[in-house]
C-alpha cells in the first residue's frame, strides 16, 4: 500500500512540476488566472469494504445467537459538504486546497415481544487536503473534464454500538461500543467533470474518486467502560462516486 502512495505522490509532483513550467512559459497569461473560492454540497458514496464487513460480522454473531436480525441500511451514499480555494496556474492546471465532510451509517434494528436489539454504526469523514488539477478540456468550455490529485489528511471517526433493551430483565440491558478515531494521511485521484451553468459561479460536478487505503485500529467499551477487545483493524477505503452542486466565486 505504501508503494502505491509513493507512486501517487511522485505522479502528483511530476504533474505539478510540469504544469509550473508551462505557467512560467506563458507568464503573460498567468495574471489572468483568478483565485477561486468554492462552496458546494452534494452526494458521495464510499466503498468501505472492511467497515461493511465488520458490521456484517457483528450482525452474524447475533443471527447465530438466534436473532433473525435484518440490516435495514448499510452505509449508503450521503451528503457531502465541500469548501475549496484554488488558483489556476495555467490553462490546463489548477492548484488548491479543500475541506470536505461527509458521514454515513448502518442500522440493524430488531424488536420482539421481549425487547429491542439495536446495532448502529455511524461513520464520519472530514478531509483537509491540497490538490492539483489537470484539465483535460478547455477551461473556458462549459463542461470541464479534469484529473484531480489530492494529498492531505482525513479524520476518520467510526462508532459501532450494540444496544439491548429488555424492559422485563433490566440486567440484560447493555450498550457496547466499538470505535475507531484517527487522523490519517490520504491520497486521491479524482476523475472529474464540471459543468458551469450560465448563471455566474453556479456549477455542478461529478466524478469518481480513487482513494488510498489506510489501516485503523479499534477501541472498545462496554457500558461506557473501555476494555480491551483485542486488535481489530480496518482498511479505510473511501473510493466512490461524488456529485456536487455549488458556487465558485472568482476573486
Amino acid at each position: 500500500m505504501k508503494i502505491v502512495q509513493i507512486i501517487f505522490v511522485i505522479t502528483l509532483l511530476v504533474l505539478f512540476t510540469y504544469n509550473c513550467s508551462i505557467a512560467q512559459d506563458s507568464s503573460k497569461v498567468v495574471n489572468n488566472y483568478p483565485f477561486y473560492i468554492g462552496l458546494a454540497s452534494g452526494l458521495t458514496t464510499l466503498t468501505l469494504t472492511d467497515v461493511n464487513k465488520l458490521f456484517d460480522d457483528v450482525v452474524m454473531v447475533y443471527k447465530q445467537a438466534g436473532f433473525p436480525i435484518k440490516i435495514q441500511r448499510q452505509n449508503p451514499g450521503n451528503i457531502i459538504f465541500h469548501l475549496s480555494a484554488s488558483k489556476d496556474l495555467s490553462d490546463v492546471s489548477t492548484l488548491g486546497f479543500r475541506l470536505q465532510h461527509t458521514w454515513t451509517s448502518s442500522y440493524a434494528l430488531y424488536s420482539d415481544a421481549i425487547g429491542d436489539l439495536d446495532l448502529i454504526s455511524k461513520l464520519s469523514v472530514s478531509k483537509f487536503d491540497v490538490y492539483y488539477q489537470l484539465n483535460l478540456t478547455d477551461r473556458f468550455e462549459p463542461l470541464l473534464a479534469s484529473l484531480q490529485f489530492y494529498s492531505g489528511f482525513l479524520s476518520f471517526n467510526y462508532n459501532l454500538t450494540t444496544e439491548s433493551n429488555v424492559p422485563l430483565l433490566p440486567e440484560l440491558n447493555s450498550k457496547s461500543r466499538l470505535y475507531f478515531n484517527k487522523i490519517i494521511p490520504c491520497f486521491e485521484l479524482l476523475v472529474f467533470f464540471k459543468y458551469k451553468f450560465g448563471i455566474v459561479g453556479l456549477s455542478t460536478s461529478a466524478g469518481f474518486r480513487i482513494a488510498s487505503t489506510s489501516k485503523v485500529y479499534a477501541h472498545s467499551s462496554q457500558d461506557d467502560i473501555p476494555y480491551d477487545e483485542g486488535e481489530i483493524d480496518l482498511d479505510v477505503n473511501l473510493t466512490g462516486l461524488v456529485c456536487l452542486v455549488g458556487l465558485e466565486i472568482a476573486l
Partner: protein, 541 residues
Amino acid sequence: MSERFLKLKTIIILFTTFLILNSCDLTEPDRFYNSAPEKQQNGTIEFSELDESKHYAGFLRIKFSLSDLSFSTSAIKIYIDEQLVRTFKSSKNIIEFDINTATFPDGLHNINISVISDDMGYFTLLGVPVLEFSKQIYFDQSTPEPVFITGYEWNGNHPLLHWNISNSLNVKYYFVERSTGGYYSRIDTIYDFKVDTYLDTLQIKAVGENLAEYRITTSNGEQISNSNTVKIKYGVRLFLHLFQDFSRNLCMNIENKNQLVNLATDSSQLNIIEYNNGPIKHTIAGNNFRALSQNYDNDNILLICNTPEDNLKKLNLNNYTLTTLSQFANKLYYQSNSLIKLKNNRIFVLGSEFQLYDLDSGELLDSKSRIGHGYPGEFCLVPDSTIFFVYSDYYIYKISCEGDSIYFLKTIFTPNVGIRNQKYIPYINKIAGIIPPNLIGFYDPSTFEKSFEYAEDTYFYPSHFLLKNNFLYVGYTLSYQTNNMEGIVIKYDISSISMQSLEKWYFKKPIRRLFFPEEANRLIVFCSDESVWLLDLMEGK
C-alpha cells in the same frame, strides 16, 4: 454541442436526484419487529418406552422424538415437575437420556418438554419455549414383587417356562437365569413385564433328570427379587441294569409284560427285569444258560443251556419257573448259540450248522451246513411266514422251512460290513438293518436286493433301532459332541424313502439299546453309562 451538454446536464441532475431520494442517510430506518414467537407453533412428540401405566425405579431412559415442527430448534429443555433436569442444545429431534428416579420422591411426576426455536430473538436467547409438551410418570423405588414360576413344558426341543407375572408396576425387566452347575447365570432379559413365558432355545431337550434349573429375577433397575426355582427334566430314570446288552441272544424284551429277560455273560444267572413301575429284579441262578430264544410266545421263552441233559429249557414268564425240555437232551450242539421258534412248533437252531427241530418231539428234521463258525447270528422273521433271514459271519441267508426241510433261498456275502439288528418292516415290506459304520440299509425281502440306504449324518453312528407302526426309532452314537450330548434317538417316518425326521431326543451318553414297553408312546433307552431312561413320547406336545 449544446444538445450534448443538455443531455449530460439532464443525466447529472437525474442521477443526483436519484441518489438523494434513495441513498441519503438522513433518517433512522424502520425497525424490524419479529412477531413469529407470538404465533401458534406446531409439532408433535412421541415418547418411546415410557408407559404411563407403569412405575419406574432406578435409572430411567427417557426417549422421545419431535416431528412436524413448524420451526427449527435451538434447545430442548426437560423438566421434571419444576426442576430442569437436562438441556439439549442441538437441532436434533430425537432425544435420549437417563435420569435417576431415586433422586425424586416416590409418586406422580410431570415431565415437561420445552422446545426453544433457534430463530426467535430474545425468545431464543432467554430460552423462552415456543412449544411445550408434558407427560406423567410415576416413580416407585419399592422392591418389586417376585414372579412365581408355575412350571414348564417342552416346546419342540426346548423348555418353555411359565410364570405368573409380578403384581408390581415398577418392574423394569425380568432376568431369565439358568443354573446347570450350582450357580445361576443370566441368559436373557425380558423388558415387557407382561410377558409370562420364556422359551429357552439354547437349552436342548436332552434326557436327564436335572438338565437345568431356572429362576426368574424381577428387577426394578435397582433392586431384584428372585422367583421360585424350577428344574427341568426329560424322561424318568430307571435303575435297570443289563449285563449284556448287545446280543439278541442275551436279552429279550417282553413287551406285553414290560419285562426284560437278560442273561449274564458268564451264564451264571438269568435276570427278569420289570421296568414299568420301578425295577423288580428276578434272578434265576446256577443253570448254566447259554442263549435266549430270539422270540417268545404264550408267555414262554426258550433257553439254550450248556448242560447236555438240559440242553433246552422253557421259562414261564408268569411265574418264572423253568421247565426242562427233556426231548432235547444231548441233542443241541455245544456251539448252538441262537434259537428261534417258528410256526408249526418248529425251532431253528444256529450252531455249527443250521438245524430244524420239532419242538414237541425233539426230532431233528433237517440240517444244513453254514459258512463260518464265529458270530452267533441274528434272526429276522417275516410274520406269518416260514421265510426268515439269518445274519452270521458276514453272510445273510434267506431261509424257508416249509414242511420239514431247510431251504436256502438265497445267500449273500457282505464283506467287511455286515448288517446288524435286522427287522422286517411290514409297512414298506422291507428288511432294515444297520450297516456299519453309519448306514441303515433297506432290503427287498423277496430278492434281497438293497432298495436304499440312509445316513442321518456322517458322524451319526446307528447302534440300535426299533419299529413301531410306520415309525422308526434309531439310536445313534455321536462321534462329536453336539450340545454336550453324545447320544441321540431320532424318530423317522418311513412311509417314504426320504426318511423324514420327526423328532429328536438327546442323551448325554451314546445309545446302546432301545425298547418299547407295552404302553404306547413310551420308549426305554439304554445308554453306554448304564443309565436307563423311560421317555414319554407325548410329553411336551
